[in-house]
Amino acid sequence: MSAPTNAVLDGAALVDATGVAITVDGVGPAVHGVDLRLAAGEMVGLVGESGCGKSLTAFSLLGLLPAGVRAAGELRFAGTAYDLAAPDTLRPLRGRDVAMVSQDPLTALNPVSRIDHQLGDVMRTHLDLSRAQRRARVLELLERVGIPSPRRVARAYPFELSGGMRQRVLIAMAISCRPRLLIADEPTTALDTTVQAQIMELLGGLVRDEGLAMLLITHDLGLVAQHCSRVCVMYAGEIVEHGAVRAVLDRPRHPYARALIECLASRDTGVARLATIEGTVPPVGAAIEGCRFAARCHYADHRCSVTRPRLTATGDGGLVACLRSEEIADE
Protein backbone atom coordinates (compact mmCIF):
# COMPACT_ATOMS: atom_id res chain seq x y z
CA MET A 1 0.00 0.00 0.00
CA SER A 2 1.62 3.23 -1.09
CA ALA A 3 -1.10 5.72 -0.20
CA PRO A 4 0.10 9.04 1.19
CA THR A 5 0.82 8.55 4.84
CA ASN A 6 1.00 12.09 6.13
CA ALA A 7 -1.69 11.18 8.59
CA VAL A 8 0.16 12.67 11.47
CA LEU A 9 1.47 16.06 10.57
CA ASP A 10 5.13 16.62 10.81
CA GLY A 11 6.51 20.11 10.71
CA ALA A 12 4.64 23.21 11.73
CA ALA A 13 0.94 22.98 12.27
CA LEU A 14 -1.25 26.08 12.26
CA VAL A 15 -3.34 24.68 15.07
CA ASP A 16 -1.89 22.45 17.74
CA ALA A 17 -4.18 21.69 20.64
CA THR A 18 -2.77 19.37 23.28
CA GLY A 19 -4.29 17.70 26.30
CA VAL A 20 -7.76 19.16 25.81
CA ALA A 21 -9.71 17.99 28.85
CA ILE A 22 -13.24 19.13 29.63
CA THR A 23 -15.14 18.69 32.87
CA VAL A 24 -18.83 19.25 33.48
CA ASP A 25 -19.38 20.55 37.03
CA GLY A 26 -21.27 18.07 39.15
CA VAL A 27 -21.10 15.34 36.50
CA GLY A 28 -17.46 14.67 35.81
CA PRO A 29 -14.94 14.60 32.98
CA ALA A 30 -16.46 14.58 29.47
CA VAL A 31 -13.33 14.89 27.33
CA HIS A 32 -10.15 13.19 28.51
CA GLY A 33 -7.07 14.79 27.02
CA VAL A 34 -7.54 15.12 23.26
CA ASP A 35 -4.83 16.30 20.86
CA LEU A 36 -5.72 17.97 17.56
CA ARG A 37 -3.39 19.35 14.90
CA LEU A 38 -4.36 21.08 11.69
CA ALA A 39 -2.33 22.62 8.91
CA ALA A 40 -3.44 25.43 6.62
CA GLY A 41 -5.37 24.19 3.59
CA GLU A 42 -6.64 20.92 5.00
CA MET A 43 -10.04 19.71 6.13
CA VAL A 44 -9.94 17.32 9.05
CA GLY A 45 -12.97 15.36 10.17
CA LEU A 46 -13.84 14.87 13.82
CA VAL A 47 -16.45 12.11 13.93
CA GLY A 48 -18.35 10.38 16.66
CA GLU A 49 -21.83 9.72 17.92
CA SER A 50 -23.88 12.03 20.14
CA GLY A 51 -22.33 12.63 23.52
CA CYS A 52 -18.79 11.66 22.50
CA GLY A 53 -17.53 15.17 23.23
CA LYS A 54 -16.79 16.34 19.71
CA SER A 55 -18.75 19.59 19.97
CA LEU A 56 -17.44 20.34 23.48
CA THR A 57 -13.91 19.94 22.15
CA ALA A 58 -14.64 22.44 19.39
CA PHE A 59 -16.27 24.97 21.72
CA SER A 60 -13.29 24.76 24.07
CA LEU A 61 -10.99 25.90 21.25
CA LEU A 62 -13.15 29.02 20.90
CA GLY A 63 -13.41 29.60 24.64
CA LEU A 64 -17.16 29.27 24.32
CA LEU A 65 -18.04 26.46 26.70
CA PRO A 66 -21.33 26.96 28.55
CA ALA A 67 -21.34 27.93 32.22
CA GLY A 68 -20.42 25.04 34.49
CA VAL A 69 -18.20 23.39 31.90
CA ARG A 70 -14.46 23.88 32.30
CA ALA A 71 -11.58 23.13 29.97
CA ALA A 72 -7.90 22.50 30.49
CA GLY A 73 -5.12 22.10 27.98
CA GLU A 74 -3.09 24.22 25.63
CA LEU A 75 -3.79 25.66 22.20
CA ARG A 76 -0.87 26.76 20.07
CA PHE A 77 -2.17 28.88 17.24
CA ALA A 78 0.32 30.06 14.63
CA GLY A 79 3.10 29.70 17.18
CA THR A 80 1.42 31.52 20.08
CA ALA A 81 0.32 29.53 23.13
CA TYR A 82 -3.09 30.00 24.73
CA ASP A 83 -4.35 28.44 27.95
CA LEU A 84 -7.72 26.76 27.38
CA ALA A 85 -8.46 27.01 31.10
CA ALA A 86 -8.57 30.80 30.72
CA PRO A 87 -11.18 31.30 27.98
CA ASP A 88 -10.84 35.10 28.10
CA THR A 89 -7.35 34.86 26.68
CA LEU A 90 -8.87 33.30 23.54
CA ARG A 91 -10.94 36.42 22.83
CA PRO A 92 -8.46 37.95 20.36
CA LEU A 93 -8.64 34.75 18.27
CA ARG A 94 -12.37 34.25 18.39
CA GLY A 95 -14.32 35.54 15.41
CA ARG A 96 -11.12 36.76 13.86
CA ASP A 97 -8.50 33.99 13.40
CA VAL A 98 -10.82 31.24 14.53
CA ALA A 99 -14.42 31.28 13.30
CA MET A 100 -17.28 28.87 13.59
CA VAL A 101 -20.23 27.67 11.53
CA SER A 102 -22.89 25.91 13.56
CA GLN A 103 -25.58 23.41 12.72
CA ASP A 104 -28.61 25.62 13.08
CA PRO A 105 -28.31 28.84 11.11
CA LEU A 106 -31.67 30.17 12.31
CA THR A 107 -30.73 30.32 15.97
CA ALA A 108 -27.21 31.54 15.15
CA LEU A 109 -28.60 34.65 13.45
CA ASN A 110 -30.35 37.56 15.13
CA PRO A 111 -33.98 37.34 13.98
CA VAL A 112 -34.69 41.08 14.18
CA SER A 113 -31.62 42.39 12.42
CA ARG A 114 -31.04 42.59 8.67
CA ILE A 115 -28.29 40.42 7.16
CA ASP A 116 -26.05 43.36 6.21
CA HIS A 117 -26.17 44.73 9.76
CA GLN A 118 -25.22 41.38 11.25
CA LEU A 119 -22.34 40.92 8.83
CA GLY A 120 -21.23 44.51 9.34
CA ASP A 121 -21.24 44.13 13.13
CA VAL A 122 -18.72 41.32 13.02
CA MET A 123 -16.39 43.36 10.84
CA ARG A 124 -16.80 46.47 12.98
CA THR A 125 -15.61 44.48 15.99
CA HIS A 126 -12.52 43.06 14.34
CA LEU A 127 -11.55 45.08 11.28
CA ASP A 128 -10.65 48.70 10.80
CA LEU A 129 -12.87 49.54 7.83
CA SER A 130 -14.91 52.58 6.91
CA ARG A 131 -18.67 52.26 6.64
CA ALA A 132 -18.51 52.26 2.84
CA GLN A 133 -15.78 49.65 2.83
CA ARG A 134 -17.83 47.47 5.13
CA ARG A 135 -20.87 47.82 2.90
CA ALA A 136 -18.86 46.81 -0.13
CA ARG A 137 -17.35 43.87 1.71
CA VAL A 138 -20.80 42.61 2.77
CA LEU A 139 -21.85 42.33 -0.87
CA GLU A 140 -18.51 40.81 -1.84
CA LEU A 141 -18.86 38.17 0.88
CA LEU A 142 -22.44 37.30 0.00
CA GLU A 143 -21.33 36.83 -3.57
CA ARG A 144 -18.35 34.73 -2.48
CA VAL A 145 -20.64 32.26 -0.69
CA GLY A 146 -22.78 31.84 -3.80
CA ILE A 147 -25.82 33.93 -2.97
CA PRO A 148 -27.49 34.74 -6.29
CA SER A 149 -28.81 38.24 -5.47
CA PRO A 150 -26.49 39.72 -2.80
CA ARG A 151 -28.18 43.14 -2.75
CA ARG A 152 -31.59 41.72 -1.97
CA VAL A 153 -30.28 39.23 0.61
CA ALA A 154 -28.24 41.95 2.34
CA ARG A 155 -31.48 43.80 3.19
CA ALA A 156 -33.37 40.63 4.19
CA TYR A 157 -34.17 39.29 7.64
CA PRO A 158 -33.11 35.70 8.45
CA PHE A 159 -36.68 34.34 8.32
CA GLU A 160 -36.99 35.45 4.70
CA LEU A 161 -34.20 33.11 3.64
CA SER A 162 -34.20 29.36 3.09
CA GLY A 163 -32.12 27.07 5.31
CA GLY A 164 -29.42 26.76 2.65
CA MET A 165 -29.23 30.54 2.16
CA ARG A 166 -29.04 31.12 5.92
CA GLN A 167 -26.15 28.66 6.13
CA ARG A 168 -24.41 30.57 3.34
CA VAL A 169 -24.90 33.81 5.28
CA LEU A 170 -23.40 32.17 8.35
CA ILE A 171 -20.41 31.05 6.33
CA ALA A 172 -20.04 34.60 4.94
CA MET A 173 -20.06 35.87 8.52
CA ALA A 174 -17.50 33.29 9.59
CA ILE A 175 -15.06 34.20 6.81
CA SER A 176 -15.70 37.96 7.00
CA CYS A 177 -12.57 38.62 9.04
CA ARG A 178 -10.39 36.24 7.04
CA PRO A 179 -10.01 33.50 9.66
CA ARG A 180 -7.28 30.90 9.37
CA LEU A 181 -9.20 28.17 11.17
CA LEU A 182 -12.87 27.45 10.55
CA ILE A 183 -14.67 25.08 12.89
CA ALA A 184 -17.77 23.68 11.18
CA ASP A 185 -20.05 21.87 13.64
CA GLU A 186 -22.45 19.64 11.67
CA PRO A 187 -22.81 22.41 9.07
CA THR A 188 -25.18 20.48 6.81
CA THR A 189 -27.15 18.26 9.17
CA ALA A 190 -30.24 20.47 9.04
CA LEU A 191 -30.16 20.79 5.24
CA ASP A 192 -31.62 18.81 2.36
CA THR A 193 -29.36 16.41 0.52
CA THR A 194 -28.88 18.49 -2.63
CA VAL A 195 -28.31 21.67 -0.58
CA GLN A 196 -25.85 19.78 1.63
CA ALA A 197 -23.83 19.02 -1.49
CA GLN A 198 -23.75 22.74 -2.38
CA ILE A 199 -22.62 23.83 1.09
CA MET A 200 -19.90 21.17 1.27
CA GLU A 201 -18.68 22.30 -2.16
CA LEU A 202 -18.50 25.88 -0.86
CA LEU A 203 -16.61 24.87 2.31
CA GLY A 204 -14.27 22.63 0.33
CA GLY A 205 -13.53 25.57 -1.99
CA LEU A 206 -12.54 27.79 0.95
CA VAL A 207 -10.05 25.19 2.11
CA ARG A 208 -8.69 24.58 -1.38
CA ASP A 209 -8.57 28.11 -2.73
CA GLU A 210 -8.00 30.24 0.34
CA GLY A 211 -5.90 27.92 2.44
CA LEU A 212 -8.23 27.77 5.43
CA ALA A 213 -7.73 25.01 7.95
CA MET A 214 -11.10 23.43 8.65
CA LEU A 215 -12.25 21.14 11.41
CA LEU A 216 -15.41 19.37 10.21
CA ILE A 217 -17.39 18.00 13.13
CA THR A 218 -19.88 15.44 11.91
CA HIS A 219 -21.51 12.10 12.52
CA ASP A 220 -21.55 11.46 8.76
CA LEU A 221 -18.62 9.30 7.69
CA GLY A 222 -19.75 9.57 4.07
CA LEU A 223 -19.12 13.33 4.14
CA VAL A 224 -15.72 12.72 5.68
CA ALA A 225 -14.91 10.21 2.94
CA GLN A 226 -15.79 12.76 0.29
CA HIS A 227 -14.21 15.91 1.70
CA CYS A 228 -11.55 15.35 4.38
CA SER A 229 -7.92 14.38 4.16
CA ARG A 230 -7.61 13.17 7.73
CA VAL A 231 -10.09 11.96 10.31
CA CYS A 232 -10.19 11.62 14.10
CA VAL A 233 -12.72 9.17 15.53
CA MET A 234 -13.96 10.02 19.01
CA TYR A 235 -15.58 7.71 21.51
CA ALA A 236 -16.67 8.62 25.04
CA GLY A 237 -14.47 11.69 25.24
CA GLU A 238 -11.33 10.29 23.64
CA ILE A 239 -9.82 10.10 20.22
CA VAL A 240 -9.57 6.36 19.61
CA GLU A 241 -8.26 6.47 16.06
CA HIS A 242 -6.66 9.06 13.81
CA GLY A 243 -5.27 8.78 10.33
CA ALA A 244 -5.58 9.50 6.62
CA VAL A 245 -9.24 9.18 5.63
CA ARG A 246 -8.87 6.30 3.21
CA ALA A 247 -6.61 4.40 5.60
CA VAL A 248 -9.11 4.71 8.45
CA LEU A 249 -12.18 3.93 6.33
CA ASP A 250 -10.66 1.01 4.45
CA ARG A 251 -8.62 -0.53 7.27
CA PRO A 252 -9.92 0.78 10.58
CA ARG A 253 -7.67 -0.37 13.42
CA HIS A 254 -9.84 0.46 16.38
CA PRO A 255 -12.75 -1.91 17.07
CA TYR A 256 -15.13 1.04 17.57
CA ALA A 257 -14.14 2.69 14.29
CA ARG A 258 -14.39 -0.69 12.65
CA ALA A 259 -17.88 -1.34 14.03
CA LEU A 260 -19.12 2.14 13.13
CA ILE A 261 -17.91 1.83 9.56
CA GLU A 262 -19.37 -1.66 9.34
CA CYS A 263 -22.80 -0.30 10.45
CA LEU A 264 -22.78 1.95 7.40
CA ALA A 265 -21.04 -0.26 4.89
CA SER A 266 -23.36 -3.19 5.56
CA ARG A 267 -26.29 -1.11 4.24
CA ASP A 268 -24.83 -1.30 0.78
CA THR A 269 -23.99 -4.93 0.63
CA GLY A 270 -27.44 -6.49 0.56
CA VAL A 271 -27.17 -8.22 3.92
CA ALA A 272 -30.20 -9.42 5.86
CA ARG A 273 -29.09 -7.74 9.08
CA LEU A 274 -26.98 -4.65 9.60
CA ALA A 275 -23.90 -4.76 11.72
CA THR A 276 -24.62 -3.07 15.05
CA ILE A 277 -22.76 -2.04 18.18
CA GLU A 278 -24.49 -3.63 21.13
CA GLY A 279 -24.81 -1.77 24.40
CA THR A 280 -24.62 1.95 25.01
CA VAL A 281 -21.99 4.64 25.43
CA PRO A 282 -20.85 4.95 29.07
CA PRO A 283 -22.37 8.03 30.71
CA VAL A 284 -20.27 11.18 31.09
CA GLY A 285 -18.32 10.98 34.32
CA ALA A 286 -18.44 7.19 34.58
CA ALA A 287 -15.37 5.85 36.35
CA ILE A 288 -13.82 3.36 33.94
CA GLU A 289 -10.40 1.99 34.63
CA GLY A 290 -9.45 0.38 31.32
CA CYS A 291 -10.58 1.02 27.76
CA ARG A 292 -13.88 2.91 27.61
CA PHE A 293 -15.09 0.76 24.72
CA ALA A 294 -14.17 -2.57 26.32
CA ALA A 295 -17.68 -3.39 27.56
CA ARG A 296 -19.04 -3.26 23.98
CA CYS A 297 -16.00 -4.63 22.19
CA HIS A 298 -15.93 -8.05 20.47
CA TYR A 299 -12.19 -8.23 20.83
CA ALA A 300 -11.82 -7.22 24.48
CA ASP A 301 -9.86 -9.56 26.73
CA HIS A 302 -8.82 -9.45 30.41
CA ARG A 303 -6.26 -6.68 29.87
CA CYS A 304 -8.75 -4.27 28.30
CA SER A 305 -10.78 -3.73 31.45
CA VAL A 306 -7.74 -2.85 33.55
CA THR A 307 -5.29 -1.04 31.27
CA ARG A 308 -6.12 2.23 29.55
CA PRO A 309 -4.80 2.08 25.97
CA ARG A 310 -2.81 5.08 24.74
CA LEU A 311 -2.76 6.42 21.18
CA THR A 312 0.07 4.57 19.45
CA ALA A 313 1.45 4.90 15.94
CA THR A 314 0.25 2.41 13.35
CA GLY A 315 2.31 1.21 10.42
CA ASP A 316 0.67 3.56 7.92
CA GLY A 317 1.09 6.81 9.78
CA GLY A 318 -2.07 6.74 11.85
CA LEU A 319 -2.72 6.53 15.56
CA VAL A 320 -4.88 4.04 17.41
CA ALA A 321 -5.78 3.55 21.07
CA CYS A 322 -6.31 -0.18 21.39
CA LEU A 323 -4.25 -2.79 23.21
CA ARG A 324 -5.10 -5.46 20.67
CA SER A 325 -5.03 -3.44 17.45
CA GLU A 326 -2.06 -5.35 16.06
CA GLU A 327 -3.49 -8.75 16.83
CA ILE A 328 -6.85 -7.94 15.26
CA ALA A 329 -5.50 -5.98 12.30
CA ASP A 330 -5.45 -8.97 9.99
CA GLU A 331 -8.79 -10.46 10.95
Binding site: H219, G222, R267, T276
Partner: protein
Amino acid sequence: MSDTLLRVEGVSKAFPIRGGGALHALREVDLEIKPGEAVGLIGESGSGKSTLGRIVVGLERATSGRVHFDGQETSGLPARRRRTIQRDIQMVFQDSRASMNPRLRIHQIVAEPLRTHGLDASRGTVIDLLQRVGLGERFADLYPHQLSGGQRQRAAIARAVSVRPKLIVADEPVSALDISVQAQVLNLLKSLAQEYGTAFLFISHDLGVVKFFCDRVSVLYLGRVLEDGAAAPLLAGPSHPYTRALASAAPSVRLDDQRPRIVLSGELPSPENPPSGCCFHPRCPESLGDVCATVEPGRSQTPAGTARCHLLESVRT
Protein backbone atom coordinates in the same frame (compact mmCIF):
# COMPACT_ATOMS: atom_id res chain seq x y z
CA MET B 1 -58.58 -10.62 -2.15
CA SER B 2 -56.13 -9.08 -4.56
CA ASP B 3 -52.36 -9.40 -4.43
CA THR B 4 -52.09 -5.66 -3.86
CA LEU B 5 -52.39 -4.40 -0.30
CA LEU B 6 -52.25 -0.68 -0.99
CA ARG B 7 -52.95 1.02 -4.30
CA VAL B 8 -52.56 4.77 -4.64
CA GLU B 9 -53.95 5.93 -7.98
CA GLY B 10 -53.46 9.39 -9.40
CA VAL B 11 -53.51 11.01 -5.99
CA SER B 12 -53.14 14.78 -5.88
CA LYS B 13 -53.21 17.00 -2.84
CA ALA B 14 -53.48 20.78 -2.93
CA PHE B 15 -53.49 22.85 0.23
CA PRO B 16 -55.32 26.15 -0.29
CA ILE B 17 -53.23 29.19 0.57
CA ARG B 18 -54.67 32.18 2.35
CA GLY B 19 -55.07 34.95 -0.18
CA GLY B 20 -55.62 32.61 -3.12
CA GLY B 21 -53.68 29.93 -4.92
CA ALA B 22 -52.70 26.50 -3.69
CA LEU B 23 -49.69 24.54 -2.60
CA HIS B 24 -49.49 21.42 -4.76
CA ALA B 25 -48.05 18.88 -2.36
CA LEU B 26 -48.75 15.83 -4.52
CA ARG B 27 -49.48 15.59 -8.21
CA GLU B 28 -50.98 12.42 -9.69
CA VAL B 29 -48.98 10.01 -7.62
CA ASP B 30 -49.30 6.26 -8.27
CA LEU B 31 -47.93 3.73 -5.81
CA GLU B 32 -48.53 0.09 -5.02
CA ILE B 33 -47.55 -2.06 -2.07
CA LYS B 34 -48.00 -5.82 -2.00
CA PRO B 35 -48.57 -7.68 1.28
CA GLY B 36 -45.31 -7.93 3.19
CA GLU B 37 -43.49 -5.62 0.82
CA ALA B 38 -41.38 -2.63 1.92
CA VAL B 39 -41.64 0.38 -0.36
CA GLY B 40 -39.39 3.39 0.20
CA LEU B 41 -40.44 6.95 -0.46
CA ILE B 42 -37.42 9.18 -1.01
CA GLY B 43 -37.50 12.93 -1.29
CA GLU B 44 -36.25 16.21 0.14
CA SER B 45 -38.31 18.61 2.23
CA GLY B 46 -41.32 19.84 0.32
CA SER B 47 -41.40 16.80 -1.94
CA GLY B 48 -44.73 15.65 -0.49
CA LYS B 49 -43.47 12.40 1.00
CA SER B 50 -44.95 12.99 4.43
CA THR B 51 -48.24 14.22 2.93
CA LEU B 52 -48.57 10.94 1.04
CA GLY B 53 -47.91 9.02 4.25
CA ARG B 54 -50.60 11.02 6.02
CA ILE B 55 -53.09 10.37 3.23
CA VAL B 56 -52.40 6.64 3.40
CA VAL B 57 -53.06 6.47 7.14
CA GLY B 58 -56.12 8.71 6.76
CA LEU B 59 -54.83 11.79 8.58
CA GLU B 60 -55.26 13.77 5.40
CA ARG B 61 -57.70 13.49 2.50
CA ALA B 62 -56.58 13.48 -1.13
CA THR B 63 -57.88 16.33 -3.34
CA SER B 64 -58.30 13.90 -6.22
CA GLY B 65 -57.37 10.33 -7.04
CA ARG B 66 -58.08 7.11 -5.20
CA VAL B 67 -56.56 5.08 -2.39
CA HIS B 68 -57.45 1.38 -2.16
CA PHE B 69 -56.48 -0.66 0.86
CA ASP B 70 -57.04 -4.41 0.98
CA GLY B 71 -59.42 -4.23 -1.97
CA GLN B 72 -61.49 -1.41 -0.53
CA GLU B 73 -61.52 2.22 -1.54
CA THR B 74 -60.71 4.20 1.58
CA SER B 75 -61.08 7.76 0.40
CA GLY B 76 -64.81 8.18 0.89
CA LEU B 77 -65.36 5.67 3.66
CA PRO B 78 -67.58 6.68 6.60
CA ALA B 79 -65.80 6.92 9.95
CA ARG B 80 -67.43 3.77 11.31
CA ARG B 81 -66.14 1.66 8.43
CA ARG B 82 -62.66 3.15 8.74
CA ARG B 83 -62.17 1.42 12.09
CA THR B 84 -60.69 -1.82 10.71
CA ILE B 85 -58.51 0.11 8.32
CA GLN B 86 -57.22 2.22 11.18
CA ARG B 87 -56.21 -0.95 12.92
CA ASP B 88 -54.57 -2.41 9.82
CA ILE B 89 -52.47 0.68 9.10
CA GLN B 90 -50.22 1.95 11.87
CA MET B 91 -47.68 4.74 11.88
CA VAL B 92 -44.21 5.31 13.33
CA PHE B 93 -43.05 8.92 13.43
CA GLN B 94 -39.58 10.44 13.33
CA ASP B 95 -39.92 12.24 16.63
CA SER B 96 -40.96 9.57 19.11
CA ARG B 97 -40.96 12.10 21.90
CA ALA B 98 -43.57 14.31 20.24
CA SER B 99 -45.70 11.33 19.29
CA MET B 100 -46.07 10.14 22.89
CA ASN B 101 -48.12 11.62 25.70
CA PRO B 102 -45.46 12.73 28.19
CA ARG B 103 -47.77 12.05 31.14
CA LEU B 104 -48.37 8.40 30.32
CA ARG B 105 -46.06 5.56 31.25
CA ILE B 106 -44.59 3.39 28.51
CA HIS B 107 -46.93 0.46 29.20
CA GLN B 108 -49.96 2.76 28.90
CA ILE B 109 -48.64 4.21 25.64
CA VAL B 110 -48.08 0.78 24.11
CA ALA B 111 -51.50 -0.41 25.30
CA GLU B 112 -53.38 2.52 23.74
CA PRO B 113 -54.07 1.04 20.29
CA LEU B 114 -54.96 -2.33 21.84
CA ARG B 115 -57.52 -0.64 24.07
CA THR B 116 -58.88 1.50 21.24
CA HIS B 117 -59.57 -1.58 19.15
CA GLY B 118 -61.00 -3.62 22.04
CA LEU B 119 -58.12 -6.10 22.20
CA ASP B 120 -56.34 -7.64 25.16
CA ALA B 121 -54.42 -4.74 26.67
CA SER B 122 -53.28 -6.52 29.82
CA ARG B 123 -49.91 -5.77 31.35
CA GLY B 124 -48.67 -9.22 30.36
CA THR B 125 -49.41 -8.59 26.67
CA VAL B 126 -47.69 -5.23 26.81
CA ILE B 127 -44.61 -6.63 28.50
CA ASP B 128 -44.41 -9.36 25.84
CA LEU B 129 -44.45 -6.61 23.22
CA LEU B 130 -41.78 -4.61 25.00
CA GLN B 131 -39.58 -7.68 25.22
CA ARG B 132 -40.14 -8.34 21.53
CA VAL B 133 -38.67 -4.92 20.68
CA GLY B 134 -35.70 -5.41 23.00
CA LEU B 135 -37.01 -3.44 25.98
CA GLY B 136 -37.26 -5.32 29.23
CA GLU B 137 -40.05 -5.15 31.80
CA ARG B 138 -38.19 -2.42 33.66
CA PHE B 139 -39.15 0.05 30.94
CA ALA B 140 -42.89 -0.51 31.41
CA ASP B 141 -43.30 1.99 34.23
CA LEU B 142 -41.00 4.70 32.92
CA TYR B 143 -42.11 7.91 31.25
CA PRO B 144 -41.05 8.72 27.66
CA HIS B 145 -38.50 11.35 28.72
CA GLN B 146 -36.66 8.75 30.80
CA LEU B 147 -35.81 6.73 27.68
CA SER B 148 -33.03 7.39 25.18
CA GLY B 149 -34.01 8.20 21.59
CA GLY B 150 -33.39 4.64 20.45
CA GLN B 151 -35.33 3.13 23.35
CA ARG B 152 -38.25 5.50 22.74
CA GLN B 153 -38.33 4.56 19.07
CA ARG B 154 -38.44 0.89 20.10
CA ALA B 155 -41.46 1.66 22.30
CA ALA B 156 -43.11 3.49 19.38
CA ILE B 157 -42.53 0.39 17.27
CA ALA B 158 -44.04 -1.84 19.96
CA ARG B 159 -47.09 0.43 19.94
CA ALA B 160 -47.38 0.21 16.16
CA VAL B 161 -47.06 -3.59 15.93
CA SER B 162 -49.30 -4.24 18.97
CA VAL B 163 -52.45 -4.58 16.84
CA ARG B 164 -50.66 -6.63 14.15
CA PRO B 165 -51.21 -4.14 11.32
CA LYS B 166 -50.92 -5.19 7.68
CA LEU B 167 -49.13 -1.95 6.80
CA ILE B 168 -46.87 0.35 8.80
CA VAL B 169 -46.22 3.85 7.54
CA ALA B 170 -42.83 4.82 8.97
CA ASP B 171 -41.96 8.50 8.49
CA GLU B 172 -38.18 8.95 8.91
CA PRO B 173 -38.18 6.41 11.77
CA VAL B 174 -34.41 6.43 12.33
CA SER B 175 -33.34 9.89 11.15
CA ALA B 176 -32.98 11.30 14.64
CA LEU B 177 -30.83 8.41 15.89
CA ASP B 178 -27.08 7.76 15.97
CA ILE B 179 -25.70 5.44 13.32
CA SER B 180 -25.13 2.44 15.58
CA VAL B 181 -28.61 2.89 17.07
CA GLN B 182 -30.10 3.29 13.59
CA ALA B 183 -28.70 -0.11 12.73
CA GLN B 184 -30.30 -1.68 15.82
CA VAL B 185 -33.73 -0.16 15.08
CA LEU B 186 -33.59 -1.06 11.38
CA ASN B 187 -32.73 -4.66 12.23
CA LEU B 188 -35.66 -4.74 14.65
CA LEU B 189 -38.08 -3.37 12.04
CA LYS B 190 -36.86 -5.86 9.49
CA SER B 191 -37.19 -8.87 11.74
CA LEU B 192 -40.69 -7.76 12.80
CA ALA B 193 -41.64 -7.28 9.14
CA GLN B 194 -40.51 -10.81 8.39
CA GLU B 195 -42.08 -12.36 11.46
CA TYR B 196 -45.49 -10.72 11.05
CA GLY B 197 -45.46 -10.30 7.28
CA THR B 198 -46.06 -6.56 7.71
CA ALA B 199 -45.80 -4.31 4.67
CA PHE B 200 -44.03 -0.94 5.00
CA LEU B 201 -44.32 2.47 3.44
CA PHE B 202 -40.90 3.72 4.50
CA ILE B 203 -40.43 7.46 4.17
CA SER B 204 -36.83 8.63 4.28
CA HIS B 205 -34.33 11.02 2.80
CA ASP B 206 -31.50 8.57 3.51
CA LEU B 207 -30.69 6.42 0.50
CA GLY B 208 -28.50 4.02 2.46
CA VAL B 209 -31.31 3.24 4.88
CA VAL B 210 -33.79 2.72 2.04
CA LYS B 211 -31.35 0.51 0.18
CA PHE B 212 -31.11 -1.78 3.18
CA PHE B 213 -34.77 -1.83 4.16
CA CYS B 214 -36.86 -1.60 1.01
CA ASP B 215 -37.79 -3.88 -1.87
CA ARG B 216 -38.96 -1.07 -4.12
CA VAL B 217 -38.58 2.68 -4.04
CA SER B 218 -40.29 5.81 -5.40
CA VAL B 219 -38.42 9.09 -5.73
CA LEU B 220 -40.56 12.19 -5.16
CA TYR B 221 -39.70 15.71 -6.25
CA LEU B 222 -42.16 18.59 -5.84
CA GLY B 223 -45.01 16.13 -5.45
CA ARG B 224 -44.21 14.13 -8.56
CA VAL B 225 -42.81 10.60 -8.73
CA LEU B 226 -39.75 11.10 -10.96
CA GLU B 227 -38.48 7.54 -10.74
CA ASP B 228 -39.60 4.26 -9.24
CA GLY B 229 -38.56 0.63 -9.36
CA ALA B 230 -36.73 -2.16 -7.58
CA ALA B 231 -34.63 -0.62 -4.79
CA ALA B 232 -31.24 -2.28 -5.30
CA PRO B 233 -30.82 -1.70 -9.06
CA LEU B 234 -32.45 1.75 -8.93
CA LEU B 235 -30.13 3.06 -6.22
CA ALA B 236 -27.07 1.37 -7.70
CA GLY B 237 -27.74 2.79 -11.16
CA PRO B 238 -30.31 5.58 -11.11
CA SER B 239 -31.83 6.56 -14.46
CA HIS B 240 -33.21 9.98 -13.59
CA PRO B 241 -30.72 12.88 -13.29
CA TYR B 242 -32.33 13.92 -9.98
CA THR B 243 -31.89 10.47 -8.45
CA ARG B 244 -28.31 10.47 -9.70
CA ALA B 245 -27.65 13.80 -7.95
CA LEU B 246 -29.24 12.53 -4.74
CA ALA B 247 -27.15 9.38 -4.83
CA SER B 248 -23.93 11.29 -5.40
CA ALA B 249 -24.70 13.67 -2.52
CA ALA B 250 -25.15 10.77 -0.09
CA PRO B 251 -21.65 9.36 -0.30
CA SER B 252 -20.81 5.85 0.73
CA VAL B 253 -17.87 5.10 3.00
CA ARG B 254 -16.68 2.41 0.62
CA LEU B 255 -13.83 3.13 -1.75
CA ASP B 256 -15.37 1.14 -4.61
CA ASP B 257 -18.48 3.31 -4.41
CA GLN B 258 -17.09 6.84 -4.82
CA ARG B 259 -19.24 8.24 -7.62
CA PRO B 260 -18.57 11.52 -9.36
CA ARG B 261 -19.99 14.35 -7.31
CA ILE B 262 -22.98 16.08 -8.88
CA VAL B 263 -23.79 19.43 -7.31
CA LEU B 264 -27.15 20.81 -8.44
CA SER B 265 -27.56 24.54 -8.84
CA GLY B 266 -30.32 26.41 -7.07
CA GLU B 267 -32.72 25.18 -4.44
CA LEU B 268 -36.04 23.41 -4.49
CA PRO B 269 -38.59 25.61 -6.26
CA SER B 270 -41.71 26.47 -4.30
CA PRO B 271 -44.49 23.88 -4.55
CA GLU B 272 -46.88 26.85 -4.77
CA ASN B 273 -45.66 27.48 -8.24
CA PRO B 274 -43.94 24.39 -9.64
CA PRO B 275 -41.90 24.85 -12.83
CA SER B 276 -43.54 24.13 -16.17
CA GLY B 277 -42.70 21.05 -18.21
CA CYS B 278 -40.52 18.71 -16.21
CA CYS B 279 -40.57 20.12 -12.66
CA PHE B 280 -36.85 19.32 -12.30
CA HIS B 281 -35.73 21.16 -15.44
CA PRO B 282 -34.47 24.42 -13.84
CA ARG B 283 -31.89 22.45 -11.79
CA CYS B 284 -31.23 19.60 -14.19
CA PRO B 285 -27.58 19.34 -15.27
CA GLU B 286 -28.63 17.35 -18.33
CA SER B 287 -31.60 19.45 -19.45
CA LEU B 288 -32.34 19.29 -23.17
CA GLY B 289 -33.66 22.86 -23.20
CA ASP B 290 -37.06 23.77 -24.62
CA VAL B 291 -38.64 20.36 -24.53
CA CYS B 292 -37.86 19.94 -20.80
CA ALA B 293 -39.11 23.43 -19.99
CA THR B 294 -42.44 23.04 -21.77
CA VAL B 295 -43.46 19.40 -22.06
CA GLU B 296 -44.12 17.21 -19.03
CA PRO B 297 -42.26 13.95 -19.69
CA GLY B 298 -44.21 10.69 -19.65
CA ARG B 299 -43.06 7.46 -18.06
CA SER B 300 -40.23 5.57 -19.73
CA GLN B 301 -39.07 2.07 -18.90
CA THR B 302 -35.73 1.83 -17.10
CA PRO B 303 -33.70 -1.21 -16.01
CA ALA B 304 -35.09 -0.86 -12.48
CA GLY B 305 -38.63 0.37 -13.22
CA THR B 306 -39.85 3.65 -14.70
CA ALA B 307 -38.70 7.26 -14.80
CA ARG B 308 -40.13 10.53 -16.09
CA CYS B 309 -37.40 12.12 -18.17
CA HIS B 310 -37.11 13.31 -21.78
CA LEU B 311 -33.55 11.98 -21.95
CA LEU B 312 -34.90 8.47 -21.59
CA GLU B 313 -37.52 9.07 -24.28
CA SER B 314 -34.91 10.19 -26.77
CA VAL B 315 -32.87 7.11 -25.99
CA ARG B 316 -35.89 4.94 -26.67
CA THR B 317 -36.78 6.38 -30.09
